[in-house]
Assembly symmetry: C2
DNA sequence: TCTATATTTCGTGAACTCTCGAAATATGGA
DNA sequence: TCCATATTTCGAGAGTTCACGAAATATAGA
């Protein structure tokens, strides 16, 4: 989807390591998948439901999405590597892929700190604060 | 832009705190801004150039984008809060907004850890690894 | 086998994004 | 004031995303 974008006008990006960087294109597809209110909501729900995951129907009930719209959004999250599914009887259980999430965060942090490491410390602190609530980690 | 999306089909998302959550809509617009190969490249460039920032023309030379395309992408990053600009003579200097970046990372980490804190530790480790290279922080 | 439940696939129209050429605006220097 | 440089704005066409209704597929149980 986002990978098959038109590429005109991007000549020259290779000059600083843009093209051919698999990490970067992976990041773009993960970001594209999350850059949608409904899909971000689904993903949050999946993360909160833990490794056990959540049946598509329950996700649909929680978000109010129609089954077909939900299905296409789940497919987009899955193709971006952010979710995985398994069948359980008549239901299909989706779960968040934490490794993909870690990879995306690492990629973004790397960007953030490549230039001015000092400036990126607050980002780490904020991330840890978000991660641990107000408690010490 | 992404904020003014059609909203049909999202009824019911409010049930678990989706709608009206400013944080979430901010995250979606930041994610949308970064979910584009050229803009992600621009943003990385800006982050690496530090607080001093970079003139639009230099960004154009580095990325190979046409001036008008570049301008519209810089506007999108700015409107998403990820970049800021100031005029310096004939040039306009853009810089990354680190606070916005921290906020986005915190939001994503928060999602990641709300359900299963133990699972999110690797994400923090990965983020710190990305942040600090292979050196201890 | 028949029926109900659960989810996906298909096709379509509307809305949105993206890039471009051309023109406009702004600043600095001759 | 005139000109060159730097950047933005405008308008348009091509391509993509989105949500929906209808139909198809898959599983479980009567």
């Amino acid at each position: 989807m986002a990978e098959a974008r038109r590429e005109s006008g991007l000549a020259g990006l290779a000059d600083f390591g843009y093209s051919g960087n698999m990490e970067s294109t992976d990041a773009v597809s993960a970001l594209s998948a999350l850059a949608h209110p409904g899909r971000l909501a689904i993903f949050r729900l999946l993360v909160r439901s833990g490794p056990a995951g959540m049946a598509a129907g329950d996700i649909g009930r929680a978000t109010g999405m129609l089954a077909n719209t939900l299905s296409s959004n789940l497919t987009i999250l899955t193709q971006a590597g952010l979710a995985a599914s398994r069948r359980d009887g008549r239901s299909i259980i989706y779960r968040a892929d934490y490794q993909a999430m870690s990879g995306l965060l690492a990629f973004l942090m790397e960007d953030c700190c490549a230039g001015e490491p000092a400036i990126c410390a607050p980002a780490i602190a904020a991330a840890q604060a978000g991660a641990c609530g107000t408690k010490a980690c």
